[in-house]
């Protein structure tokens, strides 16, 4: 098999199945009474955490690709981003259905009055246009540049996701802190990369970076 075929018929299906793992576990645990005494809270927490994790994993792709020169990493990005949206949708549905039981006036009040729900909802809304325009057709229609701009919404989704988690906990901020740190690192990388790209490079610096590039290449 060629590398592209391995990617398409082996690696991608494997990642796809792995990404369904959390849902499979939740379903199994719910059906076999292996969740806690408050299953709705467990489902809410698990689907929310996995949304954030997939957002982080999706944000890892670009730096990973740049730093390792493993260009095929890009082939997984759409799928991982869509899984973030998938778990986000489950999370939001859990809230709408199991938690609030479609009490829309209560939900509207919640979104308006509770900052942690406001930011969580913002994160979800930010993911929507990305999910819709995730097809090749939409990339064509929007044009690469616009499409890329639109998909920077993931930065907002990730930051809002972390804040949502942070504002939700009572005093146990260790986990939100860890996610916050990782997201800060991933966004920081992009800021540094953008500044570098924009800065007019002195000849010496560009020369040295080119040679560094050469050094990294396998000879």
């Amino acid at each position: 098999m060629t590398r592209q075929r391995v990617l398409r018929w082996v690696l991608k299906p494997l990642v796809f199945l792995a990404a369904l793992g959390p849902l499979a576990y939740l379903t199994w645990a719910a059906l076999t009474d292996n969740l806690s005494a408050n299953p709705i809270s467990d489902i809410t927490l698990e689907t929310g955490t996995w949304t954030l994790r997939f957002l982080v994993i999706t944000l890892v792709i670009t730096p990973l690709r740049r730093l390792t020169h493993w260009n095929d990493a890009i082939k997984f990005r759409r799928m991982l981003g869509l899984f973030a949206f998938f778990y986000g949708t489950l999370h939001f549905t859990t809230y709408l259905w199991l938690d609030q039981f479609f009490d829309f006036s209560g939900i509207a009040k919640d979104i308006w009055k509770r900052p942690f729900i406001t930011v969580g909802f913002t994160a979800f809304v930010a993911m929507l246009p990305m999910a819709i325009t995730s097809t090749a057709g939409w990339i064509r229609r929007l044009g690469g540049k616009n499409w890329q701009r639109l998909h920077r919404l993931i930065y907002i989704a990730a930051v809002c996701g972390v804040v949502h988690y942070w504002w939700l906990v009572k005093s146990d901020i260790q986990r939100p802190l860890i996610y916050g740190f990782i997201v800060a690192l991933l966004l920081g990388y992009r800021i540094v990369a953008a500044v570098r790209r924009r800065a007019p490079r002195p000849a010496v610096a560009s020369g040295s970076s080119a040679s560094a590039d050469l050094l990294r290449r396998p000879s």
Partner: protein, 320 residues
């Protein structure tokens, strides 16, 4: 106060605790048609259950009952907050195995005639144990019905002869980082340890306020605050400080741990109040553990008839 007549059968018979404990096996067993499998599950589990249950307590009387379904024993003992053992709901039951509730002593100090260090036996000896079935409303908007075993806190406090300056009473949870992993966490610490709580003297002397030593007719599991803890049923659950090793009579309103942590969200009183929301979530309704639809939260957790008079003239919106 409203105390219903106690039925003359022990709690363990009112609530088929064994059935509750085994409901999961029941469900699993239902999946198999073979009667032999069912029988096997039953016989295999009887011994295990007996081993898990703590020492039975000698409960003299049932003083408070409720017409509400008890929350199953293993939900009460495996789903709760006790940050000394970790922040997840199952951490207390999973991480409290090393904790030693015996021997135990309690330091009594402050504005009273009989301060000193008392052993647990000293503390418990004069008090006949009662069963009190109370609602427990967590500040996180979930609730349970728990058959506590204990005695009125007021009866205990009177023995130390608090003086006229004793306006409040402060309680402290034991500090044992070696046995309580939550107290060891750094970066950042979960709470400023040790955990502290306080009551106004009249709240502490109120007949509904108890010092609990057990639940479901048996000694408190470590996860639920062994060997003794406070239960104040009209306040949010976190007021029910666990594993108490210090009682202090003071003249000024003490700072409780959650208030110290975030005074804008947690007050001194922390009375259950559906009209005053937590800044980040509504307190108007709650999820009873084991139920799907939410219930309306009751003012003072349904104990208004007995306790509302304690707060007449107090702005409960400001004094949350």
């Amino acid at each position: 106060m409203l105390i219903k007549n106690a039925p003359d059968i022990p709690s363990s018979e009112i609530t088929p605790e064994r059935l509750y404990l085994r409901r999961r096996e029941f469900l699993k067993a239902a999946g198999f048609s073979a009667a032999a499998t069912v029988a096997g599950v039953f016989t295999a589990d009887c011994g295990a259950d007996a081993a898990q249950t703590g020492p039975k307590l000698n409960v003299a009387k049932k003083t408070v009952t409720l017409d509400e379904k008890l929350t199953p024993f293993d939900d009460v003992t495996s789903y709760n907050n006790f940050y000394e053992f970790g922040v997840d709901k199952d951490d207390p039951s999973r991480n409290s195995g090393k904790f030693k509730p015996k021997p135990w002593s309690i330091v009594v100090e402050g504005q009273c005639a009989k301060p000193g260090t008392y052993t647990l036996e000293d503390i418990l000896k004069p008090h006949p144990l009662e069963e009190r079935v109370y609602r427990m409303r967590c500040v996180e908007a979930w609730s349970m019905i728990i058959p506590w075993v204990g005695f009125p806190l007021g009866d205990l406090l009177k023995r130390f002869e608090p003086n006229g300056n004793a306006k409040f009473v402060e309680f402290t949870t034991i500090m044992r980082p070696d046995e309580m992993p939550g107290q060891r966490q750094r970066f950042p610490p979960i709470l400023p340890w040790p955990y502290r709580e306080g009551l106004r003297m009249d709240e502490a002397m109120h007949p509904l306020t108890i010092m609990a030593v057990g639940l479901y007719g048996q000694a408190l599991p470590n996860a639920n605050g062994a060997p003794l803890r406070l239960v104040v049923p009209w306040k949010y659950g976190f007021k029910g400080i666990k594993s108490i090793d210090r009682i202090k009579f003071v003249d000024k309103q003490p700072l409780n741990t959650w208030q110290q942590m975030n005074a804008g969200e947690y007050g001194f009183y922390s009375n259950v109040n559906p009209a005053v929301d937590h800044p980040r979530w509504s307190q108007a309704s709650e999820r009873r553990i084991g139920e799907f639809a939410k219930r309306k939260t009751l003012m003072f957790n349904g104990y208004g008839d007995q306790v509302a008079s304690l707060y007449s003239g107090l702005d409960l919106r400001r004094n949350y």
